[in-house]
Symmetry: C2
Subunit: 424 residues, 2 copies
């Protein structure tokens, strides 16, 4: 399909340069990055990005939960405000595309668009959300959830990592305990690698996420009794790890029963004292239940609650659900999704429609604004791992779609209905 | 039963003072101590004990694996050498009696004996073995195993904790990388709290351990694939923690099948990356199989090896046994055990015979010397926990038995057959 001449494209060289630079921070030397939130590596990446924003004429804002914003007013103080972003934190030993691509593409898209435009009609803000990943501090999407009013600021600041350090303390330490008011945008766009292989399998290069799955993050505490693994008679043992093992197997069984309508995991287990010759007295399980439908989430939670006492008792332990973080299932803005597909068609890029099962900052922001995540493929569906990979061509194709969406939204003065109608 | 006037008794006040003092190092404030080997707390305890030995006229020796010895020659250079000891390291958040009692009682017994004796016929050495517990560095009994020639020195020095620090490095850091030759004693005695409630149940106050159970310490590595817990389809997940859960349940099942002839545990699991929203790529299980008979150890190891592939495959993972530390089952010196019982009778202390399932330094030393562990009761059988407790009366009763055993062995010039015959 021939390219429409009026389409705006991203400066692919700028995008590449930004991606290469940001990948240096926390680089593990094997293609991955180890840049958990508010670590020195994360601070270094943010410091660099902040300088990059300033050098390009953006005003830098940091709010009370440490979200970093770069705002550029191209159309006067009363113009609509378009926010584009993602996050610079990574999983421990994670990949270099997850999050960073969305932030780099946001900056490159706005830079590319403004250079080719004489009379912009919108203002723009690039967002780097604090703690999207939730690896070091739970829950994930913390900065965007405070932004969207879903989570209380003081509660968020008081979250602690496994060493007892709080978000608030680490924000101060890294220099990101800000005092600026967050911007109040009119819509939010985020571009991200897929994290599954559906696009690769289908040969698609662009996909809007139509729905976001709901999730229950359930923390289960198993309590046994600390004792010597030698002399303590087997029948007297109250082994918290054994109790945990029965629960882990059951959590998986729930997903097997529900087939493709429920995803489950127990991916972190904190064992105390975790010494080879002490019967463990305590195990804390970080369990996730994810489903596209609330009814399935309810069923899985009820099933787990019903099963826990017997599972724990098989190891003479007790199990208690100590917290549940609930992320409801929902839909992204359908106009933004439609616009994505139309632009993809105009670029001749194969497209498909997807749901997102993983969380994204756009899920939180979507609670208060029209929002969307646009996906590009990830080779083999790999995510959260050093060998996560998306080719420069796919990064640029996604960047092109984002940039032309910016152009159409800008031309429509931020009116999405108009944007859908305004462009041939 | 009336007390035999000639029995030697421990200075109970000295023993109490020593126990109170040593319990300060690494005190957790709730009765327990947190004094893992070669930590600052452990170094402080050793530094104090070393000064205490020196002040009392003992020569201090530290060998190449960091065993600390206090030697006092009471009977000339060619006299038999009696070694008594235990260890000052504790489990993380462990109790204050395990190990420390044996070292304090050793010093108090020799001090009490020598003050009441005009012409000692033996020399004495108090031993504080390096890394009995094996909580920070595996395997346990490391210093005594090097002493007994069961483990290579260089290999022992190269063991690393979970932060990557080696035994050798931490010996240097704490000032216990010695250059002295270890003493060459003729026999070895150790007194220890029981770690089970058999004595309490039976009303016994003294028990020699006749046998030591064998143990296999098996390290199992489960390998899956690191991925996002959100989008990764359930059927594609290779979840190392789920594989671990199936193995943990099976390890317990082996003990249930074998009833009281096999004790098993998986007490430590190192999970990577242990992040709530990453399917874990790796889990290392620290598994123990303990039995009084070698045939049972062989059966349990063979059963586990046979079961591993299927258990791991249920989670689409693989499992590999990466190391096995083998501690053979065996018997302590029966003459020392008989002497213990005879002395207990003379003190009118109710006695019984036990096996030890947990490891003790005497198990390693027993490979090359006549050796014995004497047990005193522990309330509720608690061990490796802050509320581990033995009353001052029971500590003193054990100390009395130890001291009078020293007297009888000394009077017999270190000849155990003679010691058994020589005293009415």
């Amino acid at each position: 399909m021939p390219e429409t001449p009026s389409l705006a494209r991203i400066d692919a060289e700028l995008l590449n340069q930004l991606m290469e630079k940001v990948s240096e921070f926390g680089s593990t030397g094997d293609g991955g990055v180890d840049r958990p939130v508010l670590t020195d590596a994360h601070k270094a990446a943010r410091d660099w990005f902040r300088a990059e924003l300033t050098a390009r004429g953006y005003s830098v804002l940091v709010d009370a939960i440490g979200n970093l914003f770069g705002r550029i007013d191209l159309a006067g103080p009363d113009a609509p405000l378009v926010m584009i972003g993602s996050h610079l934190d990574s999983q421990p030993k994670g990949g270099r595309f997850d999050g960073a691509y969305g932030v780099m593409a946001a900056l490159a898209a706005v830079e590319s668009f403004r250079k080719g435009t004489e009379a912009p009609r919108c203002n723009y803000v690039i967002a780097d959300w604090m703690n999207e990943e939730g690896a070091r501090f739970q829950p994930s999407l913390l900065g965007s959830s405070v932004f969207a009013g879903l989570v209380d600021l003081d509660w968020a600041l008081a979250r602690r990592d496994r060493d007892g350090k709080s978000v608030g303390e680490e924000l101060v330490r890294t220099g990101y305990k800000g005092t600026d008011a967050a911007p109040t945008p009119d819509l939010y766009l985020e571009i991200h690698i897929e994290g599954d292989s559906k696009m690769e399998t289908a040969g698609a290069r662009i996909a809007p996420f139509l729905r976001h799955w709901g999730a229950l993050k359930v923390r289960i505490e198993v309590t046994g009794e600390q004792n010597h693994t030698g002399p303590t008679p087997m029948e007297d043992r109250k082994d918290a790890v054994l109790g945990a093992a029965h629960i882990i197997a059951e959590v998986r069984r729930l997903a097997d029963v529900a087939e493709d309508t429920l995803f489950t995991s127990v991916a972190r287990v904190d064992i105390s004292p975790n010494s080879p010759n002490i019967v463990p007295g305590k195990a804390i399980l970080f369990c996730e239940l994810r489903a596209p439908e609330q009814a399935m989430l309810d069923w899985s939670e009820a099933s787990l609650r019903a099963a826990l006492p017997d599972l724990a008792a098989r190891a003479r332990t007790t199990a208690e659900i100590v917290s549940v973080d609930r992320r409801p299932a929902g839909k992204f803005d359908p106009r933004l999704a439609m616009l994505t597909e139309r632009v993809a068609d105009d670029f001749g890029l194969p497209k498909m429609q997807l749901d997102t099962i993983g969380g994204h900052d756009a899920v939180a922001v979507n609670a208060i604004l029209p929002a969307l995540v646009i996906a590009v493929p990830s080779v083999g569906g790999v995510i959260h791992r050093n060998d996560e990979y998306t080719s420069p061509e796919d990064l640029a194709a996604g960047g092109d779609v984002l940039t032309d969406m910016v152009r159409r939204i800008d031309r429509a003065g931020g009116d999405l209905d108009l944007a859908l109608g305004a462009n041939a």
